[in-house]
């Protein structure tokens, strides 16, 4: 399956629980340029709700989510675009 979004950078948060994926995303976003797309990899199901919520609060654009089966584990790929400079 091809990735619907072309990410400029990738962030691996596999094996980490809340709040680490969100904290790492927010740190990564500080270095990211406006207009760039970040792909966040996570195996914490909470990310499905948390990433859109984070985007809504911080004014960033949530592009979409992709689920992948990896053995008996699910991997979630979220795509976030930086549209807000702060």
């Amino acid at each position: 399956m091809s990735t619907p979004f072309q990410a400029d950078e990738q962030l691996d948060t596999l094996g980490m629980f809340c709040p680490m994926p969100i904290i790492m995303t927010s740190k990564k976003f500080k270095q990211l340029k406006v207009g760039k797309i970040l792909e966040v990899l996570s195996d914490d199901e909470g990310i499905k709700q948390d990433m859109p919520a984070w985007c809504k609060t911080t004014g960033q654009e949530f592009l979409g989510l992709e689920e992948q089966e990896d053995g008996n584990k699910k991997i979630f790929k979220t795509f976030v675009k930086k549209i807000n400079a702060t």
Binding site: G15, M16, F17, C18, P19, M20, I22, I23, T25, S26, K27, W54, T57, T58, T86
Partner: protein, 179 residues
């Protein structure tokens, strides 16, 4: 007795800068010195800070143990407070679980499980919180009552204050928690 280095920026200025840059605010009162409750408090604090909110944590009573240096006792000459300080040791990584502590065995097991699942412990969460700009306020009433002196607290305390400081911050906030 060593003295803490005095910050070169006035707290009011820092607070005003924060007000401008982080308009939404979260205030958390940390009363409990239990590890599980402290985890909840720091997860909410770090989460809120990474969502761009201004976060203030007010540590009072048992919660103040998190801001104390490891194994620190009390420094006052009063023997009652000294004894209390011996019984109530400080340190963020020595907090017990509120349930299943089992004289330390349960808490040690929980820490092991957390490490296995790459979950940060209380000292790590505190570092992350500091890094994200979460402000720590130490309750001076508790310090006086339990004989805890400034030099036995960690360096990352931003302010030593009382209820008025906490309330003036909390009244502007949309999220206010008591843990």
């Amino acid at each position: 007795m060593t003295t803490l280095p005095t910050p070169n920026i006035a707290p009011e200025n820092v607070l005003n800068n924060l007000r401008e840059t982080k308009p939404e605010s979260v205030t958390i009162v940390c009363l409990s010195g239990d590890m599980d409750k402290a985890m909840a408090a720091f997860i909410i604090a770090t989460g809120a800070a990474s969502m761009g909110m201004r976060v203030t944590m007010f540590f009072t009573f048992w919660g103040l143990n998190m801001l104390r240096r490891k194994g620190s006792t009390s420094n006052v000459k009063d023997w009652l407070r000294r004894l209390f300080g011996l019984l109530n040791r400080g340190g963020a990584d020595t907090l017990p679980l509120s349930k299943f502590h089992f004289l330390g065995a349960g808490t040690a097991m929980m820490k092991k499980v957390m490490k296995q699942s790459k979950m940060p412990g209380i000292p790590e969460l505190m570092d992350i919180a500091q890094d994200l700009g979460v402000r720590f306020i130490a309750c001076t009433t508790t310090m006086g009552l339990l004989g805890i002196t400034k030099d036995t607290l960690i360096d990352s305390v931003d302010q030593y204050a009382g209820v008025a400081t906490y309330l003036s911050e909390a009244k502007n906030g949309s999220v206010n928690l008591f843990i």
